[in-house]
Symmetry: none
């Protein structure tokens, strides 16, 4: 009659992700989570050492998966051209985020809050992400495929494109009539990204037009 440990823990996380996404971390009560998961509230403290621990578990689950996508593709740098490598990495991340769209939205929102835990996350995970992107971009420039744009700007634009559909999903729905969780979302959205890569990142001709006198 009782669920096994595994099941209970997972039920809690699943409910937590849904509710954290819908109402925010602080806006969600452990009793709400417990009720949605059909378990006793005390179990949350038991399994996750409190609500904060539950949040931490969610964040870790997300970033582990997220970075795995990128790391996997960085290894292909030796065999694939950098632009292809970048495209595959971005696609992999988008797919991961699509599969975990509730978690994704919630995490990117939550790390914009200045809490201790989000500072820790940034200090560890985002630094890794930055390093992986750096490896790819560096290679692309060395190979003469990428324009020699300021790396920081490129990263920001990439990041922006990766997270935006999840953070502003209501805008997506309103404007594009598309949800990030839809079947063909990744393919549709990748076109936009690929277009950007081809026309802006790989556009060697125009590279100096804007950034000659770069004060950046």
């Amino acid at each position: 009659m009782n669920a096994t440990v595994k099941e209970t823990k997972d039920l809690i996380m699943e409910a937590a992700i849904f509710l954290f996404n819908t109402k925010g971390y602080d806006g969600t009560g452990v009793r709400d989570i417990a009720k949605k998961a059909n378990v006793n509230p005390a179990n949350i403290s038991y399994y996750f050492k409190g609500k904060k621990g539950l949040l931490e578990a969610c964040l870790i689950q997300f970033f582990e998966g997220y970075l795995a996508c990128l790391e996997e593709k960085v290894f292909l740098l030796e065999t694939l051209p950098p632009d292809e490598c970048l495209k595959q990495g971005l696609k992999s991340i988008l797919s991961f985020q699509r599969e975990n769209h509730l978690l994704t939205r919630f995490v990117w929102r939550e790390v914009s809050i200045d809490s201790q835990i989000s500072r820790e996350i940034i200090a560890s995970y985002l630094v890794k992400e930055k390093y992986f992107l750096h490896l790819i971009l560096e290679q692309g420039i060395k190979d003469g495929i990428f324009a020699n744009l300021p790396e920081s700007l490129v990263m920001i634009q990439l990041k922006s494109m990766l997270t935006m559909p999840f953070l502003q999903s209501q805008y997506l729905r309103e404007v594009w009539h598309t949800f990030p969780q839809e079947k063909y979302f990744v393919e549709k959205y990748m076109m936009m990204i690929e277009r950007w890569i081809d026309s802006t990142l790989c556009s060697l001709l125009q590279e100096n037009r804007h950034f000659d006198r770069k004060i950046i």
Copy 2:
């Protein structure tokens, strides 16, 4: 001895914006706000009819200012070329957001939460925004200046670029060593946006490369 109404109300809003941004709406208590504003907690209910009313006041203040930036520039469509008009509009919004960067970050985060008020905001303000952008894009295409890209995709990319620096400001700091509130931020960031407009939105040659077989 007593502060005037204006002062008290403004002190509360200022404190609220700071704290809502730092700790999130639900993570902030009215007592925190009152303490920071150096006023009595009861004043919050007195002036704003409760915490929710205070949130609403923040949202309205933001979106009124935000839309005013855009509306003002749409009127210039008759005298300026659409790409110039778009650039000025975006720059105006960026400036507004820079001046209110705390409010901006907080608002874009909060509307991603599924609350009644955020649904109302979207229903009224975001629809207007969409309409203004539509007017500009339509004119640009008619004038043969903008590539005939799917309007929805363009809007999403624009929106993405406009909000990203504020929502992911920690990333900006980490990667670009730049804060949105800095003096030259708008000018620096506008280069990136202008580059995108010139090389992607106005690039007539390539327009069919990606979107021939558009399933979009």
Copy 3:
């Protein structure tokens, strides 16, 4: 434009009586009263020295009028037969209560609460009432018109009949389809009371049937 002192005071009392009756003394806020009276809440403290003072003013107004009805008729004992005197006194009270039915209901309810003020009221006003009734009943017995029933029981029954229609007005409405504030209420209700006086209080024959072995 401003109301005169008299008017403001009266407006407040009127509103207070209405609201105290509807929602009870503790259930009513001074701001509710002020809003209903269209005056500033500060005036209540100003004119009545606080909410408690307002309550006191209501109670005094009621009991002064109430006792005046009775006292007036007691003077007639010298010229009228006691039963007629009693009937007139009761009718006078009923009329007074009918004219002030909101106040009446509220007062009889409130004095059943064990507050300092209700104890004081009882100590002064109800003792007077008891004395007036005693004078009438005593005369009636001396004249051989009233049965020699225990005075206390008669008083209780009288009191019961006098207050019941106001305290249980919802029952009156439900059962009798009559409101105490109606035009003919006093006349209709007096029939019931007169019947009781004639058949029970003045019924000399049966008087010993029940109270022979009185343990009372």
Copy 4:
């Protein structure tokens, strides 16, 4: 160490009844109740879903018991004469109210306030009470035992006699030196009621004296 559920719930209700009676519903705080019951204030919300729920529980407890007294005796109509049946019913109610005299006083006072809950109570319970009384009175008239007085007036007088000692207990004390909770109260008070039944309700001779020209 912890009290069982039953105990805690009952402790709260007991304390609530005492305090609601003494200071009124709105005049009583949950903290007062909790302190008197020696439990944590949070338990009140836990067990009764808030102060309002506690009030509701009190009202229900009262009216369930109250109506049970009457219903039980109505069943005896087949074997007992109606006057006897009525007397037993009234005595049963008086006994119930004596045993719960604090609750009784508080409830009859509270339902005279125009709240949502009191309206609901009246709509359900008082209608039943009226129906039970109707059955008895109807039988009495059919049997030729009760005078054919207007049913509504009889009900009002009965109701008046039943509730008065509790609502005006301070008057009882002052005038009769008797408390409703005293041992012999019911017997003493029943004499008064029986006298009324015998001399007024069952008095066939006089029945038309007052109500000939009845406008009622």
